[in-house]
Subunit: 386 residues, 3 copies
C-alpha cells in the first residue's frame, strides 16, 4: 500500500448547513441542465456510485446501500453530525475554500448564495469547515466576486476601480489564492475571453468597460464584460498570489497565450478541471515552470475510472506540478468521496507501477506525498501560514 | 459474468445479398481512401482481428483461422445461410436499420446503392434482416434521402418543399428515428454546417436554397447545401422523433450550439460516433437531458481495445444515456462482431469494477441491461411498437 | 513473451560527444521553458523515472539508483564508452538520424548546434552513431536546414531558389527521408501554416517571399516565412522521398488539408508526435494510404504509461502503418530508454491480448515485427540500401 500524508484539498467550497431530502441531495450530485433520463436518477452515474461506495460506511452503513437508506441515516444523524463524520473521514488536513459559490448545479452562470465568511447563508465558510473537519482551512477568493462587491459599494467608476484595486490588494494579504472563471467556464464566450487574455487591457479600455458595466448593472449583477474580466485576471497576476484558473470546456489552445504571457511574472497558475483535455493541462504544466495542474473534481466524477484518469495526468505532468483537490461543494459527501477515491486511485496506480518494476517503492512514496499535500503546501506557502 | 438481455442494435444497415470473394469482403471491412500498406491487408487491423476472433466459430471454424479459410467456408454455406448464422449468433433482439446506405467503404460522400425497403438492390431491408436474424427490426430514415427523393419527384420548389414536409411527417409516423450527416460527417464543411445549426433557417432562405439546388441538380444528386441541411435537421426536430446525429470528425464544440438550441423541444438527440472525441459526447449526454451517446462502431473498430473505449465513455455518461449499436453495414460479420465485442467488453469492464468493490453486483447488472437494451427501448418507444 | 527483430529507430538525433555533469544531463531530459518545481528535478518525471529504470543496468548499476550515482558511473566510463553500452543495449539495428538538431531542450525555435555530418560540433552524425551502436544509420534531412544553408551560400534570390532545388534533389538521392517542422511545431503559427499547406504556393509568391526573407536575414537566420515553408514542404513532396512531419501541438484538423492534397502523389507522410492527439494521427493513417503514424518520443516521455499510449495508437492505426522511433537527441540514454520502454510496452500490450484470446500468438508476433522494424524497412526502402 502507498501511504499518503493528510491531504490538502486545494479547491473546494463550503457545505450546506441545512438538512436535505432525497431530491434535494440528488440535485447537488451532478451538474445538468435538466432531469435525469426517465427511470433513472442522478445516482446512476459514476459520481452516484462512488458516493454510495464510500460514504455509507462513514455513517455506519454498508457500501452501496440504497440511496433512500443513506438519506434516512443522514437525517437521523443530522446535517451537522453527518458533515463532521464525512469530513473527518476524508483524511483531509487542509481545505482551501473558494468562498464564491457560484450556485447550485444546474444554475451555471447565475450567482448563488455566496455564504462567505460565515455570513449566515446556508453554505458554511472556511472556519466552520475547518472545525467540522478537524482540519485547517484557508480562503480562496473568487476574483469576479471582488468586482461585484466593489460595484455594489462604489458610486463612481473611479471609486469602483480604486475599491477593486484595494480589494485585490487586501485579498492578496489574507487569502491563499484567487480563483477565476467558475461561472463562465462552460459558456461559449469563455474561450474567446481567454484567447484575448494574453495581455492586460489598457487603462482607458478598463475605464470605458467599467463605465458601461456599472451604468447598466443592477445590484448583485455578475461581471461578464471581457475587458473587465481580463483586468481582473491581470490584477491578480500583479498581486503575485497563485491563480486557480477554471478551464471549463475551453479548448486547451485558448490557454496557451495567457500561460506564455504570465511566465516569469512570479504568480503561479493552477489549471482547474480541463477533462477531457486534462492531458493538455499536464503538458502545459511540463512546459511552463509556473503552471500546475489540478486533479480536481474529475476523480469523484469518474469514480471507478479515477485511476485511469489520474494515470493519464501522470503521463506528462512533472510530479512536482500535480495537486489534489475535490472541487466539492455543498455536500460533505463530495469532499469525502473525492478524497477517498483519490487515495484509492493513487495507491492503485503507483502501486501497480512498483509491482511492475517501473517505479521504485521509495519514489512512489515520495511522489504520492507530493501530489497529496507537498506540492500544494509549497504553492500556497502553507508552512508559513499554519 | 455480467449477463445482458437480447441487445437492441440501435444503428445498423442491411446486409449484402450477394456472395463475396476475399477481395470484395476485405473492401467492406474498413473505410479507407485507398489500398492497405504493401504486404498487408485490411484484415491487419483491430476490426480484421476481431472479425477473425468472433465469426469463424459461428460458421464452425476455429477462431483466428486464415481469412481465406473463412471465406471458403462462407461461400460453402452461401451468403444467406452464413448471414443467418452470424445474425442469430449475435444475440441481438432488435435491429434499428438505417435504410439510407451511403455507399461502400472508400466512397464517402458518394451515394451508394440505397437498397431500402427491399427494392431489389443488393442490400437487404429491415424486414429481411429481421427474418434472417430471427429478431425484430425497425426503420431509421436518413433525412438527406427524403430530400433527394422529394427533389426527384417534384416539378417545382413549392412542390419540393411540400413533398419534403410530407415525407418527414410520414416517416415520423412509421420510423423509429431519423439519421443525419452520414455522407458528410468526415467532410470539412460538416463542422461548419453544424456550427450554424443552432437555429433553423428562415422560410425565404429555405426557398432560395431549394431553388438553387433543384435548378442545378441532376437526378439522384446529393444534398450538400448548408441551408437545406439545416432545414432538414430542424424539420426532424419539429417532428419529435429521435435524431441520430453522425458526429464524424467534427470537433465537439461544433455540436454545442445545436444541442443547446434543441434542449427542451421534445426530440431526443443521439450522438453517433465521435471517437476520438467520445468523452465529449459523454459529457454532452451528462449536461443535457435530451442528449444520448452511442457506443457505436468504435467497439468493433477497436477490437481488443473495445473495453478501454467503453470504459472512457462510462466516465461521464449517465448510465441511462448510453446506447449500444454496431454501426454495421453490408457484412453480417460486422453486426455479429459488434455485438460480441460489446458483450465481452461490457462484462469485462463492469465485472472488473465489481471485483474491485467499486460497484455492487446488482448495480452492474442493472446498468448492463440499460446499455444493452433498456435505454434504447425507452428512447425509441420500442415497447409500444413490438 | 513477444519477441521483436532488431529495431529500426525511424527518427532520432546524434548524441553529445562531451562529458556531462548532473545539471547538464538533467537539462537534456525534458523540454521546459524554465526550471523544475522547487524541491524537485527534471528526474521527477516519467522520463526521469524511465531513464533510472532502464539505463543503470546497462552501465552495471541497480535500476532506480540515485541520479548522482548514475552520473558518477557515467563519468567513470566516459561519454564514449557509456554511449556505446547504451546504444548497443538498446537492441536497435538501424538508426534514421535527423541531422538538423534544432537545439537543446528549453530553446525551442532557436537553432542549436547543427553538428551534422560529423562537422566537429559536439553532436555526432549518423556514421559515428552507427559505429558506437554497432548498427546501421541513414540520414534524415531537415528541410528548413536546406533553406538556411542555401540562403547562406547564395547571392541572389534566383541563385537561392536554384541552390535550394539542387539541395532538395541531392538530399533525395542520399537521404532516407525529409523532416519538417521541428523548430516550429509548438509555435502558435505552425497550425496556421499547416492549414494553408493544402496547396503549393505559386512561383511568383515564392520569389517574393524569398526576396523578403533574404533581404532581412542575418547569416544563419531561421526560416519562418509561411510561403517559404509551404514551398519547402511541397518541394519535398515532389521529390518522392518520405516526409516526417512534426505535428507538435497543432490541432489534428490542421493536418487534414495537407494529407488530402498529397494522397496519391507518391510520397509517404509519417506523422511525428501528436500526443495527446495521437488517436487522430492513427485515424489519418487508417483513412489515407500514404499516411503513417509514429510511436515516437511519447513512449519514453510517458514511461510507465507507454503501454497505455501504445494501446491507444493500436486502436485505429492499421498494423502496417505504425513505426517505432525514439525521437531521442543528445543523450544516448534517451535512445536506449525509448527502445527498451517500447519493447516492454509492446510485449505487455500484445501479450495481454493473446492471453485474453483476442489475438492469436502468430498474429501478435507478426504485428510486433511490423511495428518494430518491418514497416520502417518498407517505407524507407532499407532493404535496397543495406
Amino acid at each position: 500500500m502507498i501511504e499518503t500524508p493528510p491531504l490538502v484539498d486545494q479547491h473546494c467550497h463550503g457545505v450546506l448547513r441545512t438538512e436535505l431530502g432525497l431530491a434535494g441531495f440528488e440535485a447537488q450530485l451532478i451538474r445538468s441542465a435538466g432531469p435525469p433520463a426517465a427511470g433513472t436518477t442522478f445516482f446512476d452515474t459514476q459520481t452516484g456510485f462512488a458516493v454510495r461506495r464510500w460514504c455509507p460506511p462513514l455513517l455506519g452503513l454498508e457500501p452501496h446501500c440504497p440511496p433512500a437508506h443513506y438519506l434516512a441515516r443522514r437525517r437521523e444523524l443530522g446535517a451537522a453530525e453527518s458533515g463532521r463524520r464525512l469530513l473527518r473521514g476524508s483524511g483531509v488536513g487542509v481545505f482551501l475554500v473558494d468562498t464564491g459559490d457560484v450556485g447550485a448545479p444546474g444554475h451555471d452562470g447565475h450567482p448563488g448564495h455566496p455564504g462567505h465568511h460565515g455570513d449566515g447563508g446556508d453554505v458554511c465558510g472556511p472556519g466552520e469547515l475547518a472545525l467540522a473537519g478537524r482540519a485547517r482551512a484557508h480562503e480562496v477568493v473568487r476574483l469576479e466576486m471582488l468586482a461585484e462587491q466593489a460595484a455594489d459599494t462604489s458610486g463612481t467608476v473611479a471609486a469602483f476601480l480604486a475599491n477593486l484595486a484595494g480589494a485585490v490588494h487586501h485579498a492578496a494579504a489574507h487569502a491563499v489564492a484567487f480563483s477565476f472563471g467558475a461561472a463562465m467556464a462552460d459558456g461559449t464566450g469563455y474561450a474567446q475571453a481567454l484567447l484575448r487574455a494574453a495581455e492586460p487591457p489598457g487603462p482607458g479600455e478598463v475605464r470605458g468597460a467599467a463605465d458601461r458595466w456599472i451604468a447598466g448593472r443592477a445590484r448583485g449583477g455578475a461581471v461578464h464584460d471581457p475587458v473587465l474580466l481580463r483586468h481582473l485576471l491581470w490584477s491578480a497576476v500583479s498581486s503575485g498570489l497563485p491563480i486557480q484558473l477554471h478551464t471549463g470546456t475551453a479548448p486547451p489552445e485558448a490557454l496557451t497565450g495567457f500561460v506564455r504571457a504570465t511566465a516569469g511574472l512570479g504568480a503561479y497558475v493552477v489549471l482547474l478541471g480541463g477533462y477531457p483535455h486534462h492531458r493538455h493541462a499536464a503538458r502545459l504544466a511540463a512546459a511552463y515552470p509556473h503552471v500546475h495542474a489540478d486533479l480536481g473534481p474529475v476523480l469523484a466524477r469518474t469514480g471507478a475510472r479515477a485511476g485511469a484518469v489520474l494515470a493519464e495526468l501522470l503521463e506528462l505532468a512533472p510530479f512536482g506540478k500535480l495537486l489534489y483537490s475535490s472541487g466539492a461543494r455543498r455536500l460533505p459527501e463530495l469532499h469525502a468521496t473525492g478524497a477517498l477515491v483519490f487515495r484509492e486511485a493513487l495507491g492503485r496506480v503507483l502501486g501497480g507501477w512498483v509491482t511492475d518494476g517501473a517505479w521504485s517503492w521509495r519514489d512512489a512514496h515520495r511522489v504520492a506525498g507530493m501530489i497529496a499535500a507537498g506540492n500544494a503546501r509549497r504553492v500556497y506557502r502553507l508552512d508559513e501560514r499554519d
